[in-house]
Amino acid sequence: MSVQASPIATTSSTRRALDRLTWTIAPGVPFVIVLLIWIAATDILQPSKETLPPVSDVLWSIKELALSGQLATNVVASLYRLLLGSILGIITGLIGGVIVGLNRKLAESLNPIVVFFNAISGIVWLPLMITWLGIGTALAVFLIWNTVFFIVFQNAALGVQLVPEVYEQSVRALGGGRWHTMRTVILPGALPYILTGVRTGLGFGWRALIAAELVGAATGLGTMIFDAAEYHRSDIIVAGCLIIGVIAIAMDRWLLLPIERRTVRRWGLVADAEKER
């Protein structure tokens, strides 16, 4: 865009190397800044360990949690729930979203109820579902399914609706059948939205899980944090939050991003935009 931002604009090789370096370290910059502020804050303000634990305390408690095996138990419990709830949510959301996206009338008549249940999806069900399902895995899985479903559903429906009708009509005019149009026009066209939905859905499903675990489970990362709060162990709270974030990023990076790359980029939707910049 601007001259500084475009590596092609300059011919100097040092400049190009510098650009490449900036590009590589860019994702780490915000983290380093936050870390520096954190260190500075604990150093200068000297807050109590309860208010803001020093970096060393948090690192130490991560080590402790890992060595005692507590961390592994909680992470496995949380991931298992997430996997189960998300798979259910993605499958049901995708099927529902594509059907509704293809049918404007159905979309209009279902919209009130979708908006209503979207508004109360996830954590709002917690009090009722604790009564019905009790505390444990079924409760968390329900809440995750409920959360993931609506995101995938709405994104799939929107993606299908946004496919230009001209494309569909041209394939139809050339003799493409309903299934053929679906496979070659509708689904590829809606794919970026569907994948955005899955990616966002997993991110939000993950947070719904943590919220559910705060009160509705006996194991899991949320439970770990909430238990720590009772003993005012801020170091464990912060450690737990960091681990939660790292797992979320790892899932995104090694699971969802490769899927997006293999599908969306293949269709030339993202790659082009990035080449241009």
Binding site: M1, S2, A5, T22, W23, A26, P27, P30, F31, E50, R104, S109, L110, P112, I113, V115, F116, N118, A119, I120, G122, I123, V124, W125, P127, L128, T131, F150, I151, L158, V160, Q161, L162, T200, G203, W206, R207, A208, I210, A211, L214, V215, L221, G222, I225, F226, A228, A229, S234, I237, C241, L242, I244, G245, A248, I249, D252, A273, E274, R277
Partner: protein
């Protein structure tokens, strides 16, 4: 492109002459919105009647209705509702004012976009609720705690979607305008803002959905009033009618916010740009 958009909203256009037909059509629209809910309540009633469940498992729609009437007439609901609405309103305003400019700034520069994307995903991964125990230590069991959690939840989707919207605009649109001598301001008002608006609204809608939920969740744990407090408090005393009544109010309130505030904005943007299939 714009032709499709122009045709899109005949139902919303004010009728020049209110004939009997128009009134009937409007009533039909109301029925259409309520119809799925009527079916749902009927199913609920049937399940309750057939299953004959005890009161602490499931109560009839009639019971829930009576409880809601009682709570509304006593003014209990108004207090819980106003607490929740105030927080979500303030949180939304703050999130838009801060989030949209950040989204544009980040979306306009590929280095900034790259550097903040991972960080935003990290923040999104750590839900506001996970920070709640720490925030409670900072601000105590107060509305400030709830507000902090809600802003944290709301602002991330807004920044993220503004960024995606800004990056999805084909660069030659901007270049075309610039080569014709447009200023930076013109670029923002004529290319970036309209181009990114549908995406921003998607972010706002998502953010509101999740901010609303974070609000309820935080209220459940902070227990200082608000609708989350209402339904979670009812759970401890096993009052299913209060829980379901509270859920209906939470859903209805969100529906009203969505219909009266977010939807009109969406109609103005997405429908106007003519990208939505009829």
């Amino acid at each position: 492109m714009s032709v499709v958009g122009a045709e899109h909203v005949p139902a919303a256009r004010p009728m020049p002459v209110v004939t009997g037909w128009a009134v009937a059509a409007r009533q039909l629209r109301g029925v259409k919105i309520l119809f799925p809910f009527i079916v749902l309540v009927a199913i609920w009633w049937a399940i309750q009647a057939v299953g004959n469940f005890p009161d602490r498992v499931l109560v009839s729609p009639q019971r829930v209705f009576d409880t809601m009437v009682l709570l509304v007439s006593r003014g209990v609901i108004a207090e819980y509702v106003s607490t929740s609405l105030k927080i979500i309103g303030i949180a939304t305003a703050i999130s838009i004012v801060i989030g949209v400019p950040i989204g544009f700034a980040v979306g306009a520069n590929r280095y900034a976009a790259r550097s903040l994307e991972g960080f935003l995903r990290f923040l999104q991964g750590v839900s506001g609720i996970a920070w709640l125990p720490l925030i409670i230590i900072w601000f105590g069991f107060t509305h400030t705690t709830t507000l902090a959690v809600v802003i944290y939840t709301l602002i991330v989707p807004i920044i993220f979607n503004t960024m995606i919207g800004a990056r999805a605009i084909p660069e030659h649109y901007g270049l075309a305008l610039r080569s014709l001598g447009a200023s930076r301001l013109r670029l923002i008002t004529d290319v970036y803002l309209p181009g990114a608006l549908p995406s921003i609204v998607v972010g706002l809608r998502l953010g509101m959905g999740y901010g609303w939920r974070a609000l309820i969740a935080a209220e459940m744990l902070v227990r200082q009033g608000g609708l989350g407090d209402l339904i979670f408090g009812a759970r401890t005393s096993g009052q299913i009618d209060r829980i379901i009544g509270g859920m209906i109010i939470i859903g209805t309130l969100y529906l009203l916010i969505d219909r009266l505030l977010v939807q009109p904005i969406e109609n103005l943007t997405i429908a106007r740009w003519g990208v939505l299939r009829k």
